[in-house]
Symmetry: C4
Subunit: 357 residues, 4 copies
């Protein structure tokens, strides 16, 4: 991973190392992968209009997200099943993110418990939540999350049901039985883990997740905890405004990395109307297709406060465990600083709408 | 066909099974197939803007078309020569459609008579009509259609003459002599069926179909029957308004699957101005390029009440007879329900214009 | 050529038969051939919006151009060096065009004299003219053209100098010495033909053609003859208006088949603003990329009265002499009639702006 | 190089001759080379609208740049390390440019001193400057530049830091130790040249160039010299206006040939808003992707007074030393004259906005 020059290099290294089914699970999108490609194309299509003759001797990409200091406007996106990528699993990711000072958003579908990951973590943790059919179990998980010291709850709202990812279906992908999902309600109970998770994530969705969740459930959730709530998976300005009205503190403009509704708008393209609609009342993050430092600049110029980095973290983990994760974040940071310097934007505050066309 | 995951899989299976000339007859478009490709590209180009936090525990894609209840907003498009695909021919298609609860629009150019198909059918039948040069024969066919219990007449208006499909011309495609066209006027008369249909569909057009048909003939047709009349092959808002004025009850925005006027606008792109012009006075359907559940959502968001599914039905028939047809419809339904859930649209009424960009 | 189904087929047949240098001379465009490709792409990009329920039992594509009756809105474009394609040369083309009833525009750079071609011609001839440095010689050629019975003068204005066609330069293309250019001023004089034309068309330009020609020379030319003058090679609305002001009777919106200024606008795209500007005061023709009957409909819908067909005529000539030319025109006519029927436009008058998007 | 027909031919010849690392150093762009491709695509996307019936018997592409007469609106762009391409280095380029009468903009990162190049030069020289961390050294270099007779200072402002060019990084590109950078401050001092430049241009940037340069430093520089100052690397209208306000005499709209901020707008696309904003108060030049005579016409039509030609000069130098450089400029001039003739623009003053769409 030390030889890697770009995140794309790390992806290639990971592709050599991971079994096909795991690689496809991480890499694939829903159906025809139109949105997966569209996410990336949206970043490439935008043009930058750099400023010149700005003092960039010191470039400072630091910012905050919900009060958490960030060394750069990047968060580790919640992704599932890290032990598929590396034996250290989410604990490795947490150590790597911590080494880079970047908060990690731990997934409900982690292969290690929030307690284990929190114990290993050297930096801030946030927690990605699904609302279970069993609200009591949901409440119990939130309590664990709070107890483990997580600082924010990221409620995923673009997955009321699971999409079909054709590659997984063709591969017959399922989570190996020895990898349990320690954050699911019955974790540690008598039901064998292997049985619960057969068929991969689809089984989890069918068994646990509640497709009937509405804005009222968001209100209920907000009443259970003092943690700030982030809604992940918003595509529309009206839903963004409604999020604000229901007390969400931040929004992740996201299409789940192209893994849920195929044909959904590219997340970068969905961002500007949402930024206009919320007008600064909540923080906006965006994910899906971030691969270069210039992508972060584009996202911020279009209204995001930070980006979430998903698959590249998994490539880094697969290739080098925590060191790989830290390396991926370090490479992105180096690229971002260079991009900011070349844009004449020595701070994130200097990244304004006029930088991108 | 049970292994097929997508309609594209069924197409590949059918391509392995069908003779080249039959495959090409079904698959091809007119001339350079620009419109054939454009139909599909139009669906891929549209972006979805899903709603979140909507209760989608129960997704109900049911609707109606001219009063006929539909389990989902899909009709089986009229297509010719089903016995080329499978010995069960249109009867097989009718059984498959019936198993899925989806109305079948039987083609005038069927290789089985409307009576035979009606006898086999387990679900509602509509009938696709051409107006013959011989109006008496046209009237006689309408009477047969009514007697057979069909519930609507779908008058094709984009084929005053037959286009050239270069693949058919190169293959020297003609209907095998043992396959008769039992709905044509002289069916059962002394003229041998093989003689009548040589040269494939071109001979039929030359011999029977009337290129002089105008709006007056539509008025004449309407006077012959109490069945609702649907006009299939409308591309323009002015023609759509005129259809309403002449008493059509529904319109299929269609370019005949790219098989008639090459260069014609993609049917999905033709839909919005027509929807604006008719403003709900008649039902609108669209066909051409529907291959995914999300395509159905896009069509409905842009103003259609239902889509017609053509070639995929033939692929299903070729691969598995009635079971193949039912499987294709079942796959599409499953995809549609998932797409509706992921769009936050649990009913077809919830699919509004804002879902698509 | 009888097996050919499309003009593209004839092109392939011609490519098998012609020597590489001749093929490239005909097929190539200037420089990087951007405009050559753009001409064709412009036709493919336009969408047709056909009318339905129009009586198309009789489709009549006939029209007139400058009073000359045309069986269809097509003229044979002026192209050089027909004896490169076939021993019958321009006489063969003239007979083929005449068989189809289509006027031929004979090129100044013909390998047969206007008198020879007129003698062979069975249909109307127009003559394409360059203004020579020697105005007297120009006048003399005009007199010959009139005497030979040509009905219009088509003055090419997009070639004040010759472009470089990289393929010709790489092939070292030159006209074989046995092929003379019998319409050039000194034709029949002592200078050997082979010497005059070495280096292909570039030598001709350098030796004869006048890069200083202006609108005043057009006035001069108009004073020499009562033949109607057509300006070929107009790309701009202001030049079109000026053409009208200087008494031109028609304009060919043309970029010389992509053979002169590479990067020039596609001729089809240049047409609508010109049509708006001249507002019917002169006839408009267009050439460059016409390969299908639907292309003719698109051109007429956008304001042309007729199209000029260039390279396909040469392919037909190469493959079958006069029969090949007639076959090409016959195929195009058949396609055009079908396209008009499918557009609900039984006459050229019915082809209006609304048919194309 | 005499066989070359186009600049692309010269590039191919150079690619055969240069070592891979040198070739990649010259050819590559930053990161994913999006802007590198975009520069070229922007030229290809523009359409020309030529005028006809203009006297183009004499085409005169001459103009001036900051009072320096130019035989055509072309300057030799500043590029680094010419001795990588040919032993004659920048002296060879200067002789070739002089033979064509085209001013050369000598790079600070030249492998020959400004004095050596000035001694060899047969035409006008301008000098490209970076402001060093050591302002005294900067002043000293400016004094040398003035003494050597350079007529303008071109201050590069799009490189406060060096971008990463992935190809160079993968090749481990560094300047061979025997090639010194004779214009750098310590040139001639004890520090061995090889040591100073290891790591290629990145080391130079880190060691010498000042990322803190702002508009005030421009004011400082302007106070040091009476040479006109040109700002190279402007992408935005606001920065262009500010350049005018700070006394710049000309602007090069440039993204450093796609070698600095990847994702930056194509320079040709950045030109029109800048031209509108400065409204003739300073001269505008553009570079990045010029390969054809028609590209020069497009640049001028969109507001440039001249273009800078970079990589093709290096290809010419690599293939034929000064003769190669002169040949490249001669080919471009020939193409430009032909393009102007075909556009009906016999002088650069006749190239107006209406020529390009």
């Amino acid at each position: 991973v030390d030889d890697a020059l770009t995140l794309a290099d790390v992806e290639r290294l990971a592709a050599d190392r991971l079994p096909r089914a795991a690689l496809d699970y991480y890499a694939s999108g829903a159906d025809d992968e139109v949105t997966l490609r569209r996410n990336r194309a949206a970043f490439e299509a935008r043009a930058l209009y750099p400023r010149v003759l700005v003092d960039v001797a010191r470039v400072d990409p630091s910012t905050t997200a919900l009060g958490t200091p960030l060394p750069m406007p990047v968060l580790v996106a919640p992704t599932a099943f890290h032990r598929l990528a590396h034996p250290d699993g989410e604990a490795g990711t947490a150590r790597g993110a911590g080494a880079a000072g970047v908060p990690m958003i731990l997934s409900t579908l982690a292969t290690m418990s929030v307690e284990e990951v929190a114990a290993a973590a050297t930096g801030p943790l946030w927690f990605q939540l699904y609302i279970f059919k069993d609200r009591g179990a949901t409440r119990a998980l939130v309590d664990r999350v709070v107890a483990a010291g997580c600082r924010a709850l990221v409620l995923t709202v673009d997955a009321p049901v699971i999409a079909r990812r054709d590659r997984d279906a063709r591969n017959g992908f399922s989570l190996p039985p020895e990898l349990g999902l320690a954050n699911l309600p019955a974790a540690g109970a008598a039901t064998p883990a292997g049985e619960r998770t057969h068929g991969g994530v689809a089984g989890v969705f069918a068994d646990y997740l509640d497709p009937s969740v509405t804005w009222r459930d968001l209100d209920w959730l907000a009443a259970q905890t003092r943690l700030p709530i982030v809604l992940k998976g918003i595509h529309r300005a009206d839903d963004a405004v409604r999020s604000v009205d229901h007390g969400a503190r931040a929004i992740v403009v996201s299409n789940h990395g192209g893994r849920q509704l195929d044909g959904a708008v590219a997340s970068l393209d969905a961002l500007p109307p949402i930024a206009a609609a919320v007008d600064g009342r909540v923080e906006l993050y965006v994910d899906g297709g971030v691969r270069r430092g210039t992508d972060v600049v584009k996202a911020l110029a279009l209204g995001a406060r930070a980006v979430l980095l998903g698959r590249p973290i998994l490539w880094g983990l697969a290739v080098g465990g925590d060191r790989g994760v830290a390396r991926v974040l370090g490479m992105l940071r180096e690229e971002l600083e260079r991009a900011m310097a070349l844009c004449g934007a020595p701070t994130v505050a200097a990244i304004d709408r006029s930088l991108v066309g």
